[in-house]
């Protein structure tokens, strides 16, 4: 084992892993042969195969980013290990350690989902739920499927027109890697004027092989349509390989509205280098709700391109960095259209030596007259060992804009903890309630069961270390 292994100190409550299988360590670099093999296994159309190979070429030419949290623990010379490790997961529920089973219990994860989350095989119950939901929305003309099968289905051309057009492979090294080896993920298309009443949840189809490592989400909400899509869940997601380089591309057409919610809780050895981007057209609304938990290192800055006139975006996010975690998260807004508006509201929490960095960028281009942008970020540090940084950038190219920024940073108040304890709450509960309250901007935006899960997750994180 080389430097890809990350020390996991007292992480046993969340994380477990399989014995390293030497079988996958035969080839080290990522070669065209490996990529072709992946393409073949997935029955890609020819264009996708060529696209993957082009991405591989780009990947091999772009250097690893050096500007954020250190990712030295990733051995890029041995990338094949990361790519191949997820291709086969044949372990049984009996192999899952008791403490992980406990965690599922504490988080209130339905029994049906647990095995899938633990990465020990397909879950027929969740598959059933997924199909029911799929059938229900299909009656409205909504397409909701895994991306791989959609590639050869009736919407093949639509996917070809949109796939990695918002996040081009030359964007950064991990986008190129993603393009070369992507696997699994969701495709959603909502036809014009259709309002999808129930939130679609990728939760239902977690059993897809390779989901959660290089998955690609492509959502197109056509003119005047309305969708709430929920990705991920609060349960710790385990992967044999410790690199996650997913990609999310969201197209919000004229007058449409898309809410995209995620609660992510990666196992604490994970390098989470995810790219998410949305394109918003005239009079359309994009809403991000984002909870980032777990992982060893995260780089996550969902980007919204406000292209259309009067388009609007709201980003609400919370990040929780505990021991041995360095989470670099934020959001990016690019205003192109007139009268566009954006609002970023983030909360970050750090404890037990965790590092959380809020990094954002708001760019208001010359064409974006009368644009409005507001950024509000708050940090809560639970002890003096932890660290919180705020790096907000605002660049405007036109004068006729209204831009506001506000940042707060603070320690958890001993007096407030005493106050709640004086009402009978344990110290742990008192702190968890203060932190949950601090993060409530996010939980208030989530459906009830997800909000409850997130609060359970905060409580669990608070009890570690």
């Amino acid at each position: 084992m080389t430097n890809q292994k990350v020390d996991e100190i007292d992480r046993s409550i969340y994380d477990f892993r399989y014995e390293e299988d030497d079988f996958y360590r035969i080839q080290s670099g990522l070669t065209p042969e490996i990529v072709e093999k992946i393409s073949e296994e997935k029955h890609d159309p020819e264009w996708m195969k060529q696209f993957r190979l082009k991405c591989l070429d780009i990947y091999n030419r772009i250097p690893v980013p050096r500007w954020g949290a250190p990712i030295d623990g990733l051995d890029m010379d041995d990338i094949a290990t990361y790519v191949r490790a997820n291709t086969d997961m044949k372990k049984s529920w009996e192999d899952v350690p008791d403490d992980i089973k406990d965690t599922f219990e504490k988080l209130g994860i339905p029994q049906a989902e647990r095995a899938a989350l633990a990465g020990v095989g397909a879950q027929y119950d969740s598959e059933l739920v997924y199909h029911n939901v799929k059938d229900e929305v299909a009656q409205q003309g909504v397409i909701y499927s895994d991306l791989e099968s959609a590639l050869t289905g009736p919407h093949a051309q639509m996917i070809r027109d949109h796939f990695m057009k918002l996040v081009p492979p030359n964007d950064h090294k991990f986008a190129a890697l993603h393009g070369a080896v992507w696997s699994g993920g969701s495709f959603v298309y909502v036809p014009p004027g259709i309002k999808v009443e129930i939130p679609l949840q990728s939760y239902f189809r977690l059993n897809a092989k390779g989901a959660g490592q290089f998955e690609h989400t492509l959502i197109i909400v056509d003119e005047g349509a309305d969708l709430h899509f929920i990705e991920g869940c609060s349960a710790p997601k385990y992967n044999v390989a410790n690199l996650h380089a997913g990609c999310v591309e969201l197209y919000v057409r004229r007058g449409a509205r898309l809410r995209y919610s995620t609660i992510e809780n990666w196992s604490k050895n994970m390098y989470n280098l995810n790219t998410k981007r949305a394109l918003v057209e005239d009079d359309a609304v994009m809403e991000w709700v984002s909870g980032s938990f777990g992982s060893h290192v995260s780089y996550l800055y969902p980007t919204t391109i406000l292209k259309g006139r009067n388009s609007h975006c709201e980003f609400t996010g919370v990040t929780f960095a505990g021991q041995d975690q360095n989470l670099d998260t934020g959001a990016k807004m690019i205003h192109l259209g007139r009268n566009t508006s954006s609002f970023i509201n983030t909360k970050s929490i750090c404890k037990s030596g965790g590092i959380s960095t809020y990094r954002s960028s708001v760019e208001i281009k010359k064409s974006a007259e009368n644009a409005k942008a507001a950024v509000s970020c708050g940090s809560l540090m639970l002890d003096s060992r932890s660290r919180s940084d705020t790096i907000p950038a605002i660049v405007t190219e036109t004068d006729r804009v209204d831009v506001g920024h506000e940042a707060t940073i603070g320690r958890i108040s001993d007096d407030a903890v005493f106050y709640l304890m004086a009402r009978g709450l344990s110290e742990e509960d008192a702190k968890a309630m203060i932190v949950s309250g601090f993060a409530s901007d996010v939980s208030k935006e989530l459906p009830l069961e997800y909000a409850a899960e997130m609060n359970n997750l905060i409580k669990l994180e608070m009890s570690i270390g």
Binding site: L420, M421, L425, E427, M433
Partner: protein
């Protein structure tokens, strides 16, 4: 007097800068109403917080017993669950935590049992009505953006919902207008009526005591109890002020 509910013996407490309470002796029997008076900075709040177990204050001598048990070293939350309540002079704001969710969690922590939602809601509604609080306050973040008066009412709301056996009210009446004092006072009477609980009222103001039967009064000066008496002591202090007792405090200081 029956077995005291609260029994403080030779209690001294300090912060880093020095000792604030010196050899306090105080006994409160079940259901009794005590009033603690004294000039500003005498240590009244410190005594309240020390009884509650605020870790900011270090007990340097003596004992606190509650219901026969030595609680001097007991953590705050356990004292609370045993039945001690402290109404804060400056209640803390907890953004994102609703009054209702907070009360439910506190009740669950105290009883160890899940709260019966329907009954709880009915109870909450009726207590809020008694305190002339708008029902919307149940959904508001605990004390966040509340006016001074609203915060004090919210403290009495907690008192009535949590039903402790001993309530320490730390200047619950300060900064309130006449109507609010009347409402808070009605809340305190309701607490006595419902639970028969004991009270230690820290106050400067006779108005809040008007409708209450006071059993004992204590005067605290410079961290020492310099006088004990019955309810009539309150009237005397209101007539003559603390002058005489401040003198007594000086004399006691000289003696030690």
């Amino acid at each position: 007097m029956s077995e005291p509910l609260l029994q403080i013996q030779d209690l001294s407490a300090a912060i880093e800068e020095g000792e604030l309470l010196h050899q306090i002796n105080l006994e409160i029997g079940p259901g009794e109403t005590h009033v603690l008076m004294g000039p500003n900075g005498a240590g009244k709040s410190t005594l309240g917080h020390t009884i509650m177990g605020n870790p900011q204050y270090r007990v340097t001598g003596g004992t606190i017993r509650f219901d026969g048990e030595d609680i001097t070293e007991m953590p705050v939350d356990e004292r609370s669950r045993k039945g001690i309540f402290l109404s804060f002079q400056n209640p803390l704001e907890v953004p994102g935590l609703s009054v209702e969710a907070f009360l439910r969690s506190a009740l669950r922590a105290r009883t160890g049992k899940p709260v019966r939602i329907f009954q709880f809601k009915k109870e909450l509604e009726s207590v809020m009505e008694l305190l002339q609080m708008d029902p919307s306050y149940a959904d508001r973040d605990l004390n966040a953006g509340f006016s001074g008066g609203e915060k004090k009412k919210a403290e009495i709301l907690q008192l009535l919902m949590l039903s402790p056996r001993l309530a320490i009210l730390d200047e619950t009446d300060s900064g309130l207008d006449v109507d609010a004092v009347r409402t808070v006072s009605a809340g305190i009477r309701e607490y006595q009526k419902r639970t028969g609980g004991a009270l230690l009222i820290i106050t400067h103001n006779a108005a809040i005591l008007n409708a209450l039967q006071v059993d004992h009064t204590h005067v605290l000066v410079r961290g020492r109890i310099v006088a004990d008496g019955d309810g009539s002591l309150i009237d005397e202090i209101h007539r003559d002020g603390f002058e005489k007792y401040i003198e007594m405090g000086r004399d006691m200081l000289k003696e030690t």
